[in-house]
Amino acid sequence: MDTVSLTINGKQIVTEKWKKILWAALDNGIFIPHLCAIEQRPLPFAACRLCFVEIEGRDEPVTSCTEEVSDGMVVYTRTESVLRLVRMGFEMIMSRHPVICKDCPANKNCALQEIAQQMGFKLKPKRLLQILPELPVDDSHPLFTYNPNLCVLCGQCIYVCNEVLKKEVLDFNFRGFMTRVGTFQDRPLADYGCDSCLKCVEVCPVGALSIK
């Protein structure tokens, strides 16, 4: 096995070549916030923009899910400029996510809660107003519920459904702030040939897809 050695936050790490910084860090007990990354995915999706780190010699923070490790690389995960971006990115996500943990099916098993706790962030945004679209919940499927209001658009469910299992039930619909996950023409899930494999529910990092 080809290995490389790098330091993250001063800690010496030996890891496989071609690995992305994010996974090298997580393997070694260093937390980097992330919502959209899937290690097996050949091309990182890089949508949540929470996994920023600073690499010595680079002008600006980079996303650790897209950046490969290399020998002698020096990485920092909590510099001022990283925190500025991650704090703002997280606050943006939380500005369109109702903080209703007690009633949420993912309570205590939620990536957002984990990020807030690990990073010392508040769940409720302080600087941004909340803009909650109040979209209808899709309860049509007998086994699971899809609540688009809780969705963070990480794309994980779409990836497993389309790219891994080739079922192509889910995709992104609409544009801009109104973008959301849905079926073709936004029809109810029950009408859409979903065969209830529940893989999407399994990968959902928040409470958007949940077992009934």
């Binding site: 996500i93 107003l129 794309g155």
Partner: protein, 652 residues
Amino acid sequence: MEKTIRGRLEYLKTEALKDFKDKGSEAYGAIYVGTATCGRSAGSMEVFHAFEEALKNLDIKARTFHVGCHGHCYAEPMAVVSKPGWPPILYGYLTPNRAQSLIKRFFNEEDPALEWALGAMKDNDMIPTVYETPRWAMEQRFLLENCGAIDPENINHYIARGGYGGLAYTLEREASKVIDEIKSSGLRGLGGAGFDTWRKWDICRGNSESPKYVICNADEGDPGAFMDRTILESDPHAVIEGMIIAGVTIGAESGYVYVRKEYPLAVSIMRRAVCQARESGLLGENILGSRINFEIVINQGAGAFVCGEETALIASIEGKRGMPAPRPPYPAKRGLWGRPTLINNVKTLALIPKILIQGAENFASLGTDRCKGTAVFAMAGKIQDAGLVEVPFGTTLRGVIFDLGGGVPPVIKASNIPGEKPITTKKKFKAVQIGGPSGGCLPEAFLDTPICFDTIFDTGAIMGSGGMVILDEDNCAVETARYFLEFTQKESCGKCTFCRIGTKHMLDILTKITKGAGTMDDLDMLQELAETIRQGSLCNLGKTAPNPVMTTLEYFKDEYEAHIVEQRCPSLECKDLIAYYIVPEKCQRACDACVGSCPTEAIYTRRDRLKAIDQEKCVKCTNCMEACPPQYDAVIKVSPLSELPESKADEK
């Protein structure tokens, strides 16, 4: 048939030239009417038919041709009339009636109707040429040379003017020689980023994977930009030739033209041009007998701004949702269907054959050290002569806006007194938004900036694809920023957090400020959002979206403050902060012009017969201001609302 590549092309050229002579355009004259999309919307098809009808009725044998766009949109419909014994003359502002009588006067009475002429197109002793006017004198037509001069639907026009010579040049040489030539021309991509074209080509050529692809980016999503459309509609073979040269050079056998569905004329002209090139043996298998193959597919995009971004464009061709992917890998390494892909803008590709034919030095002699050749701008907004201009890099913004574009037009209001001249009010230049919606808004202080990718970037704007919107004193900086951000915000693909949610917050704050409800803390938040969105977004749509806000915050901060602190819109544009008011001293009792113009019956007649506006009913449509005769000029706008003089309701 000739055996060599050059010989085969020469044969095509001889045939092409014969096509004109046989049909008598030299002996009897010819009329070239600009019928690209812009001409058509000004009525050029009707003018074209009027010409044809007049020729038929008077039994004149001159030929008529559809040609592309001259770029002088302000003077559409336009036509060049070429009559034996006379220099070719360009006419503008034509109507079907004028076309009819022009034919009669010129062809039957030897009177060229010079009152409708813009000038002659060639030096002569009789008629001043168009090149004596500043617009034509300062322009340097390298890229747009053929636009308006040839029939885009007839390949012979292109070939007769030396077209496909660049392809023959390429087929006769090693690929590295072609790349060297492009390198010494200094050409940088005109899709916005200004990336060295030769470098991109060289990376693709060096990649040993196959197949490879060439993509022509004709998405042109910037609102107000239309140079790519003009080229596709006016000089399609230049784009096709550029793509074939690219394919031959990098070793690709297929190419895609990704063009937006909203350009139906461009699509149909390109389709026809592709067929004609194929029939002439210039495209398809065994090009000009070289045993080299190249095919072109026209792919229609659904008109999403983000699909102009190269990785989103590739996803869209693959049938996926147009969402950008992180780079690297760049398309040159891993593009369409995961293969090496060369993606260039329409203008970049159209320049390639011209550079190869006219020589790299020729091209490089134009422009500056870092930016060679010419830049093309689409000027719109508060500008006298809107349209396309092509100038060498290094020309100043002032030169483009004032010398070529004629500067900011005055507001002209017809007098209601018969026989009196209209009343003209001069307007002051305020700023230019350069680079489309993701560009920046630059005030007067930057007018002497020489145009180049790097100098423009340093100001906080971008070259983008060359959109230029000119603003005058009546345009509010905050509203301008809000307007452009609204566009990018809506066009965001929704993939990444900063662009999807961040720009929405910026938009909400800007909207709040234009309504007078902003706070000074909002300005800090705007700045913080702008900077983090610029750094944090996945693709350049998000990274550049804050530009209009950042530049206006920097150069027009006082206007933001006026909105926030005084609830005042200094340009009197933001509807929530202005009120219309009829100045009693100026109102001429007897005139009812304003009353009739009001859609909501907000204007009433006071007891003293002066007019006044019921602010409750007023919807601020500006009709009354426009209706009020200019010699009275009694309707004014006031801001803030507290400036509104007490209304005298008792006088109702």
